[in-house]
Symmetry: C2
Subunit: 199 residues, 2 copies
């Protein structure tokens, strides 16, 4: 590590993904028609509008990766903080060695091959639309369409619209210092607070 | 919106990216050798290990997208909560109409074409390695290698290692109810708390 010769006065850390907090998700997939689950931090939304698309980046060797390739589908499940222990467990033991099929109560939507986790507030049922296996040698990247999304009624701001009450969902974020975090307070209204900024 | 005919008792929201909280980042790019900035929620890490890779998903029409294509490079900058107003501003006005080059103090690293934001605690200097323009009609997806990362010394847990002090960085998260949020407390040790779980 060294100071770079520029005027920013910042520390140069080399090519490093200094993470500022990533929401972690549980991936569900069937391997030989049996659910298995893994934790993925490398998850994100590619497109919010219809049809919404997400990506996950997984290790080629992981058991869930095998299930995703088997069925071209998987689930993304957003755990609440009260599930932190079982979530961490799913991320630290391999499906190659441990049967995780009974860790959660699975349910299925339109697809029969994407086991979703009833215990998680939010679930996405995902159909793979593109598999990128050549971006890096040890990993697979999957682009998937969200074919259906599910949420417990108690996690909605309004029982009828599908607007998420984030504080009630209470998702888990992973920091680069290897701690799990939860959200704190709201600080401003999005797409609004900037209107008062004078350039 | 209707209940699905399965035993989960969950509400079916249709194909919708029900977000549980996404850290927002500022993208920097040069258009005609002049910095411009935009806010992107569709950002994520593809690969943490070396070389780290990230993705961003942008609107084809956006001004910053033009700059990324021009130089095959861009910056990812993580704003602190105290930058929420100017960040929201950058996300709500278009570089096609407004000159945002003076909104921040830019600095450059190894590449001369990725303007980084001095005011942001963390900066990634990114080189595009793959451009996916055919995943959906109105958007571009860029895979990029982090060629260099920068952080202010005050945002490190230890002035010498490159471990981020997330609470000091105080990143901004966007909720689907269109509020900006900050992190609260740490709840558990990652890759550790699960060891006590009995399957």
């Amino acid at each position: 590590m060294s100071f770079i010769n520029n005027s920013s006065g910042k520390i140069r850390c080399g090519p490093k993904a200094l993470l500022a907090g990533v929401p972690i998700v549980l991936i569900g997939a069937n391997v030989n028609n049996k659910p298995t689950y893994n934790v993925v931090g490398n998850f994100g939304v590619l497109r919010t509008s219809s049809p919404p698309m997400i990506y996950i980046s997984t290790d080629k060797k992981h058991y869930t990766t095998q299930g995703i390739k088997e069925n071209n589908s998987f689930s993304v499940n957003i755990p609440s903080a009260d599930l932190v222990q079982v979530t961490d467990y799913c991320g630290t033991v391999s499906g190659h060695n441990v049967d995780k099929s009974t860790v959660f109560q699975p349910f299925y939507g339109n697809l029969s091959s994407a086991p979703m986790i009833r215990e998680c507030p939010i679930n996405f049922e995902c159909q793979v639309i593109r598999h990128l296996s050549d971006v890096f040698p040890d990993g697979d990247i999957f682009f998937a369409e969200i074919v259906e999304s599910f949420i417990g009624k108690q996690y909605l701001l309004d029982g009828r619209s599908c607007t998420v009450d984030i504080k009630t969902v209470n998702p888990i974020f992973l920091g680069s210092e290897e701690n799990y975090w939860v959200l704190g307070n709201t600080i401003a209204k999005a797409f609004s607070v900037g209107k008062n900024y004078n350039n």
